[in-house]
Structures are given as C-alpha cells and as structure tokens.
Assembly symmetry: C2
Homo-oligomer: 226 residues x 2
C-alpha cells in the first residue's frame, strides 16, 4: 500500500514512528492486545520496557476488510546499529507529522441513506469540488463516470451526477455494488483521495469492534539490507 494512501485511510490520529527513531517497547501492553500470548522467550530483559530502534515499517491492508495497519520491526540493540538505506520510493517522514505529499483527501461517515441498498451516495459539495474532476455544468444534467482504486489497486467505477432540487452531487450506478462488496454499514466511513497526477483512490474505515490480531509474522528485510 502506498504510504500516502495508507495515511489518508488511517486518518490523522494515527502516528507511525519514522525508521531510525528511538521508541520504547512495552511487551506486556503488546501482549494484552494480542489474541494469544506471544512468545517472549527471546526477550532477555526483566524490565517492563525495552528501548528500541525502528528498523523497518510496512504499510499493509487486510485483503478482507481493507483495514489498514502497520507492521513495525524493532531492534533492541544498544547502541543502535547503523541505519540501513531506506528503499527507493519510501519517503522519509511519513507518519511522523510530515506533509501530505500532494494527496488531498476527504472522509465522510455513511448515513443510513448512503448505506441502504436502495440508494446512492450523497457527495458533500466540498468533497466533489476538492476531489472529483470538474463536471460540465452546461449539460443537463451534469454527469460523468469516475474511476477510483482501493488500497488493493482494485478499480471501482461510479456514476457521478449533479441533480435534484436543490442541486446536489450524488454517486449512483456502481455505488451499491461497492457498499455490498466492502460490506459497509451506516456509521462506517469512506475516504476519497486524489494525488498529484489526478488519480482517484478510495479507502474505508469501519466502526465495528473488529480488532486486528497484532500477531507476529516474521519480517523479511529488503534484499541488500542484511
């Protein structure tokens, strides 16, 4: 998942440390949020926390739920080992309060009307102006087809129309398929994004009590970074 898209999906409250920064790791806190008790036999430390260096960060998304999460590799060695080169294409500063990288985004909580099978999606005016391509307002009605990609790169097509009295922006054809495929319900959020090149992206955030497992999966460092 591209870090900019990932960040827009996760929201501004999610703070991910930069590679090379120093953090404290609290094994017990980690364990309490896990679905099963992790194997701490390799952690030869009696203190309740460990000073670590962030050695790698992976931005990931669940294939099932589109839920975005990060996998953060920690190195407890002291003094910290020399920093390995950051792979090409991974901007530094992401998640550390850095800039948005030219990506503009807009999130909306789905109303019951948005999530109902029978309806479309009411596009807030600010979202349409900020994110979507401009409509031809001389047409009657102004209408276009927009193509957006989700965090997996899957492409979704929506009919975007400006109609009704008073006039408002709506997504109609294609929207209910998106809602059903993503299993969205009222209260969930969708995030529309546009990058520098004008490409559109869409992410989802869920309200449900669904919680990631935080289980350990071995990290395989990039080639040449051994």
């Amino acid at each position: 998942v591209h870090p900019y898209v990932w960040k827009a999906c996760a929201g501004t409250a999610a703070k991910i440390p930069a590679i090379g920064s120093r953090v404290y790791y609290f094994p017990q806190g980690h364990a309490e949020q896990s679905s099963c008790w992790p194997d701490f036999s390799a952690v030869l430390c009696r203190r309740s926390f460990v000073l670590c260096t962030v050695s790698a960060v992976r931005f990931l998304a669940s294939p099932d739920t589109d839920e975005v999460f990060a996998q953060i590799a920690l190195d407890p060695r002291f003094p910290p080992p020399p920093l390995v080169p950051v792979p090409v294409g991974t901007p530094d500063g992401v998640g550390g309060g850095g800039g948005s990288g030219g990506v503009v985004s807009f999130a909306k909580i789905l109303t019951p009307s948005d999530a109902n099978n029978g309806g479309g999606f009411s596009v807030p005016r600010f979202c349409a102006d900020l994110i979507f391509p401009g409509l031809d307002f001389k047409a009657e009605p102004p209408v276009q087809t927009i193509s957006v990609r989700d965090v997996h790169g899957t492409r979704w097509v929506f009919r975007h129309i400006y109609r009704g009295t008073p006039r408002r922006h709506l997504l109609t054809t294609g929207w209910s398929k998106f809602v059903n495929c993503k299993k969205l319900v009222a209260g969930d959020s969708v995030v529309f994004m546009k990058n520098d090149a004008g490409e559109l992206f869409v992410g989802v955030r869920r309200t449900g009590r669904f919680c990631g497992s935080m289980d350990y999966v071995p990290y395989r460092p990039p080639a040449g970074a051994g």
Copy 2:
C-alpha cells in the same frame, strides 16, 4: 455423519474396509495423491507395501463442499492386536458390500434446467414414488412441503408439487436457495434418501476436479477403547 447416509452419498462404487479386516497399505500411492509429501519417518519398512489391520474408520463430510470422505486408521502390528469393541451404533459390514440398512436412495444428475436460477427441480417419477411422502392426488394441484436434512444435519424445506401437462413431480420453492447455497452446477448430482423412520436426507456429489487433501489428522479413539 451416519454411515448409511454417508454410503448413499458416496455411491455404490465406494468400498470401505470393515474394522478388523486386513489390508495392504502402499505409502507411495498414498503420497502421490497428497497435496504435500507425508512424514514417513515412523514407517520403518523398506518394502513398498505394509500389511495392516483396519483399527478405526470415521465417516466425515467437508463443511464447505458436503464432499464425503473416510478416515481409515491402520495398525501395522503383526500378529494383529485383539479387536476393540465396535462403538454402539456403528453397524459392522458397512461399506464391505453389506445391506443398505433400510435406507433407500435415489441419485439424479442435475440438468441445466435443474441448476438454472430461474427454475425448479424435475423430480423423476421413480424418485418421488420411492422416497417422498405420498401426495394427496385428490387435491388440485397435489402439493406438499417436504423437509430434508443434509450431511451436516442442516434442514432444507422444499415445495413438492405435481402439476403440468403432462403431469410431473417438481420441487419449486426452496430449491434455488439450496442450489445457490451448495453452489451446485449442471452435471453435479443430488441424492435423496429415506430411512426406516421415514426421515428424508439429501446429499450432493460434485463433478469438478476438486480433490481432497488426504492429509493426516491424528485419530482420537472413543473413550474406553484404549
């Protein structure tokens, strides 16, 4: 899964050895049909086959596909150990060419019309006479609701009607739901069964190249049969 229902689903070509019978086990033949190479470190034998005694048989069905399969535990010791008591309710001789135990069954390969979403199921006359409860032919049309259980015990309800010119037996309401839930397509088969008590059962056989994994799962013998 009840052995009688299992046998009817598997068809007459499936032969399962009785408990206590002597069979030859061919490790290589087993391995060639497995999805991964089994661990044969415990088989201390250089010959290509091992004379075994069938110590246990379990009749199982896949929760996903309803595919029935058997798990056969083999004991290579010689001379054969004393036979443990057969658990109550497991008839001997099942699968060895024995009787049908009062279960009558009828299998039909689904036609395109049977599997189409728009249609019902044409019940062959012999199947209706042999398996289904008798209709009240004085009614116009003769119709009833039948309730059948699949290999998991899940209950399915079908509307059974005798209509059309010429008259024929059909399953209508409830049938397409069954086809969709079981993911049946033309060419697959359904098996209707009736036991001594008049209870109805239904099984499915698939034509697809789907193949069970034949992987090893430890067998836990019934209590008291150690």
